[in-house]
């Protein structure tokens, strides 16, 4: 009885199938895009956690590195700027400054032996590892999403519904 019904209304049946397919493809692209956003927010969380250690670092280091006072002040300013703007280039500059201070600390044996500083260094290294993992996940999700919106037939849905390519996380040259 069902088969007869389908035979009589074949065109209608095909239209329904096509609509369902289009909807499922659209939903799939939405899921991929949301996954990319989620991965990006995970990177932001880890970056924020890392930069939240800056005040502690400045307090520990300033007792030892007196003549680098400007560097420490600059670091604090950059952190405030990042908190306000969430600018990627600011976060990269902040990261670079942080790494420079850690490297500079190698020249101060007293600072290197300080327990608080060692703890901070440990935490920063741990967060750096988490950040790298988060970036790999993000790039993975972006690649999957960008590939999907380029292949047929998803590219048709992407074109009609305005799905745009996302940028991969890359290190500045």
């Amino acid at each position: 009885m069902v088969i007869e019904f389908i035979k009589e209304n074949l065109l209608l049946f095909l239209i329904v199938i096509i609509i369902l397919l289009i909807l499922s493809m659209y939903n799939y692209l939405i899921k991929l895009r949301l996954r990319v956003k989620q991965s990006k927010s995970v990177i932001d969380v880890y970056l924020q956690q890392r930069f939240d250690l800056i005040p502690n670092l400045v307090n520990v280091v300033k007792g030892y590195i007196n003549y680098e006072k400007e560097v420490l002040e600059n670091l604090t300013k950059l952190r405030m700027e990042f908190n306000n703007t969430k600018n990627i280039s600011v976060s990269e500059e902040l990261n670079n400054q942080l790494n420079r201070i850690i490297i500079k600390a190698e020249d101060y044996p007293d600072l290197k032996a300080n327990d608080q500083f060692l703890n901070l260094q440990k935490n920063l290294a741990k967060m750096e590892s988490q950040l790298q993992a988060a970036r790999r996940l993000y790039n993975n999700d972006v690649t999957k999403y960008n590939t999907k919106i380029r292949v047929i037939p998803f590219n048709l849905i992407a074109f009609v519904c305005g799905f745009k390519e996302e940028k991969l996380f890359e290190i500045d040259k």
Partner: protein, 318 residues
Amino acid sequence: MKYNNEFELIYQNILNNNKEDLEVARKYARNEIIKNVIIVLFFLIAGIFIYIKTEYNIIIFRMYLFLLIVIYFIFMRYRKESKLSIYKKEFKKRVIKVLVDSFDENVEYFPCKGIDSNVYDNAEFDKYHSYNSEDLIYGKLKNDSNFSMAEVHTYYKTRTRNGEYRYHKLFFGILSVVTTPKPFNAKLYLRQNKNVLNKTFLFRYPLGKLRVELDSYLFEENFDVYSSDKIIAMQLLTPDIMQLLIDFKKKMKINYELTIKSNRIYIRFMCGKMFENTNVLKFSLDKKTLYKYYKMIDFTLDLSNKLIKLINDTEYGV
């Protein structure tokens, strides 16, 4: 196949000290098997001859079979240890023990002991109906981890139309377990790519929702990764570790799976029966076979050391 210098030294050491004795034991075992085959064939031909000569008299034939059964039971009751059994024991004592000692003097070999089934269950490899383990290698390593490795056999059962249970092979291979000095606060599972057409697929633990896709196409072709924490999975499965895992699989052509849970790293190798050189027709110290044993132990220790270091770095900082 190229063998590394370390293995060559170990192999030469085993060869120089054990070749003659093992070859003698192997030949005795081989001759015993040939003798048994000849005896069986003799009785079979005698039975057929009697059956034909007595003009297909079924009663006389049945009496002959009954006599054979009685002789068989008497033989089994009073026979001494078979030469094959002696050869296997000699092989384990002389070859496997020396191989194990070359890695760490603190590691011991126990041919009659195995890894407990609870340990295997913790790794969540598969759900079985019957479990057996033997040939345990166990000890404390220089980095304070406990290391154990043993042959494991698991079986699943099916019911026939008559209501009888039949057991089928599920997993035959080696299980290695290394404890980590500090606990691991997530779960990581590395499995061979799913093959839904394989019967053993039904007995695997369902991990589907924990799937993590890695950023290496080659790695994804060989393994499926599942984890309760994607970030930690990425931290542990660095490009170096992924390369190590792929290289071992491609070079040694052995499939394996990995679980990291609480404070243990479990690796199971799908390599069949390993620590028994039952092929008495082959030279007892076959280099290729020994190299497989060597590489499995070496890979387990190397991978565990690297993973332990990464676990310490990721969970507790450098």
